[in-house]
Symmetry: D2
Subunit: 318 residues, 4 copies
């Protein structure tokens, strides 16, 4: 909780934390702890909880709060962002307050489905920012594949100009490279703030996005050590090395980025790595078959061979 509030300076990897369950489907607090420790050991710069990949909608309200409190308590000095998107604005407000009281550094809000046009998007967030007040830092989650709501760069700029609490863009429109560039260009206008941009989409375009001005990643790839190192290499100006490292993991990253199915793969990799006890996914959700497991065996064996060849060491589990 000494992590401070989320700001435009945020960079690096804010890992989207999986939510571990027992094989019977109960929340697994002990695995939350080992997972949190593992992420810390990987060097992540922050956490994002209750995002879509965290199975937030499958948790009860009490479980959601438990997850936030448990991770915050163990996250040392790292910031925790909490997803509070909801179809009702009053619920966004309530969830945001609960999250901040529980120690969150900021909240992440995606637009509800059904907003119409540029004005619809601007007005929703304007009303939200007024409701939340200036003291709760907000991340705009731009994920139109899921919400059906398009964010125009000019709308984002108006929101940045008008509301200081908007400090970060979670960028996962796709194709979205041009939008990222466009927003960074727009920030050169005198007087406009430069916000933090962390990228999602499973990290699939991370090197291209870093080159275009992203500050890091907000995704949940099961080898977070790679994400951390890629961001560090970019920060050191070693783009070529960063991309070499990224490419080693790309076959698995692409495999894990399959919509829907990918969450089950991610949890199973974390289980295999000894970080969580079970790869259980709550219903409705994908179930892995024997073929899926064999395929994963093969892909992981290939990755490990390549890492060994290059002398790259995966992160250790405590």
């Amino acid at each position: 909780m000494s992590a401070g509030k989320l700001s435009e300076q945020a960079r690096g990897v804010y890992i989207i934390a999986a939510t571990p369950f027992t094989d019977e489907g109960a929340l697994d607090l002990s695995s939350i702890d080992t997972l949190t420790d593992f992420y810390l050991g990987c060097g992540v710069h922050g956490f994002t909880l209750l995002g879509m990949m965290g199975e937030a909608h499958k948790l009860t309200p009490e479980e959601s709060l438990t997850v936030v409190q448990r991770v915050v308590a163990r996250a040392q000095d790292r910031q925790v962002i909490v997803g509070v998107s909801h179809a009702g604005l009053e619920n966004v407000r309530r969830l945001a307050h609960e999250a901040m009281i529980a120690g969150a550094a900021g909240v992440m809000v995606a637009p509800p489905p059904g907003l119409k046009g540029d004005e619809g998007v601007y007005n929703y967030y304007a009303q939200l920012f007024k409701e939340l007040g200036p003291d709760i830092p907000v991340v705009y989650q731009d994920y139109p594949q899921n919400t059906g709501v398009y964010l125009a760069p000019s709308v984002f700029e108006r929101l940045v100009d008008d509301f200081r609490q908007l400090v970060m863009l979670k960028h996962e429109d796709c194709p979205g490279l041009a939008k990222l560039t466009r927003i960074r260009e727009g920030e050169k206008k005198p007087g406009r703030r430069r916000v933090s941009i962390l990228v999602g989409n499973g990290g699939l375009y991370l090197p291209q996005e870093m080159r275009r001005g992203a500050d890091g990643a907000m995704t949940g790839f099961a080898w977070p050590e790679m994400l951390v190192q890629v961001c560090a290499l970019f920060a050191d100006g070693k783009a070529e090395d960063a991309e070499d490292l990224f490419d080693l993991y790309l076959p698995l990253l692409r495999h894990e980025a399959q919509p829907g199915f990918g969450l089950a793969l991610r949890k199973d990799i974390l289980r295999r790595r000894g970080i969580i006890a079970s790869s259980f996914v709550r219903a409705p959700g994908p179930k892995l078959t024997r073929d899926d497991y064999n395929e994963l065996d093969w892909l992981i064996a290939r990755l490990e061979r390549k890492l060994k060849d290059r002398g790259v060491m995966p992160a250790k589990v405590a």
Copy 2:
């Protein structure tokens, strides 16, 4: 709570109750009471709470429970159905249990978005029915315009054959007349149960649906007395009279059935009729303009004139 469990015998009007707020947006318990009394005075056969038109997603979990308890306590011997749809199956289970403990006669469940094909729909409900057990009566809410999930008649029949707790179809696919006929035809198969079918879509096709075998309506039209009487006339074999009455209200019914916008109209009519104190709609939601009010004035004046001409008396407010 002496209303008993929901069964295949259900018929008549299960009114989708609006959720009244104060002008400041707080839950208005007193208006819930007057609204409940009004619905009872109209002769409704049951209540449906926390449906999409009840702004369920804009209530906090505590508010939702309060609404259910308040209505159940005042609903005399009428059955209360509670909407418990949720993206996570575990949450459906939990909400269903809460509702039943609070005195619901049954629960209504729409499929979550993303179910794939006939098997996807069957499997979701099969798993749900197993989780809920045989003692919680369930209504299948078939509203693909909103969920994106199509219910094939053959899938519904398999579910009816396999799970006795499935007692009702909330029918609001559109165009959906053929599906209604098809399901009633299918029920002639020896050994298959005949379930209750109540229709939605704002009541827009109520006479046609009654003629094709519907047992009544589950919608929230702001003149519930018409819905009740139309169902009664059909039950008495007076189809022509039923349709004459329905047609008087059709201009307003059609006006109120406008997607999104209609909820604000409905609440404002209830306010004008003196049944709830405020027509406040929680954000994000439509706001009425001066033009909308004038238009409503005109339409209501026309309705009242026509009712007077025919000697029809609107329901009284206690």
Copy 3:
């Protein structure tokens, strides 16, 4: 062809013409003639061909051209608008030229799916208007239920200000009453043109829309004489009479407005009225069942009884 070019002055009923086929599915030229004559006899002010309800996408390119030429040749001095929407801009251009050469007064263009945000819509039409040049009058078809593309009033206004060839809005967003009012309000700005607005959605909100400033209807209801008279009564300031007449037909208008299914109903009514030879709908499309026919019998019998009671005469078939 002496009808002149479409302009902002257009008003009244531009009937969306059904496309008649034989029972074997071939284009029925003779029924096109009788249908055209019938529409003329109803007093329509213009025709709209190759819209979505005209089954345009089920015609071959040659058949499409034949339909346009046939109607134009027989339409006397009435204007013919031709739908030329297409996923490729080059095809829109080509189809527009073909239509104008065949004698169309203007063309109607809906946005292709996938346009992003207000800029996406503006840019598409700006490019289109440049390609078409200033001499082809264009109708913007605003039908987001089908295209998925939202038209903001401010975008429409920019297009009106920048391109004189944009002379009409085909209004069928739903709910869309507020948008209509908003556009009429915006036109009070000095220097802005007032465009023609004709409304669709099967005519379901025609009286409300006329009161809010619509100039008429562009839809295909099977009793066009009602649409014509309602528009005429509104033009004469007899709103109350207009709405009385409209309400007589509303049960059937609402029935015909069912998505998908409605086209088959409309064609069957035209067949029953002796105007076209067959109600055949090309695949994939709805097929009417015995229940559908009986239902239609009942509804039409009710309408005819009510018309007779009020002394209203349906249009005669030549």
Copy 4:
């Protein structure tokens, strides 16, 4: 035209051919020839024309036919599949006949949007197969991300059992690996035919799909020589080598697989490789910026360095 009819035996790479335009947007016949020769030089086993990536919907009917005739005339003994999907069944029939007369080996058909449930899909294809007759081989294009229509494995099996002309599945549901496995398992049922399965999705999961029983790829990656060699290595049982080769190209393949944007990248790569004269994309379509070109420079430089390191030679341009 000596290529014979498409059959269940088809395997290898059926390249989705780009459609080259001049810088002014006209069809570039000369580039069609050089592109066809290039694909042949890469060793492709067949061609797929007028698919979504071929900008089919931006061609006039005459241009479409020209493309087919031009490629067929130059494709030596390779089979040409032509996409004939259309919203109207009659147009599918007509386009299929035109394609076969022009020398196609078979046609590819995606379901039109709006089909409802398993029966809706079955019935559409059953009617289509009856219309086309047994002599036109058909590929089912399963691309629900675009069509919104889900294909259940059991529906595909019924179609395979009932209609011999269904010889291939173009597999690009995503996630779709389980479906592929499920279909191959189902084919073990005595009496069921084994159909050809070629995979799309830009080739993003090609190695996994080959391992699960795919027969090859139907996609348009700008280095087709890789696709050909990967398929050949799999055919030779050298899965590990295949995947090593695939991984070299994966960064670019993933980059090119970006929806919408990818087509412009693909055409620009083909232009850079000297195969087509211009990377022009018809409107509405993406335009590349300076940043996009620089990014592509970098990614291609990295690929070429890696290929050189491993001694892999790119295909030569004649």
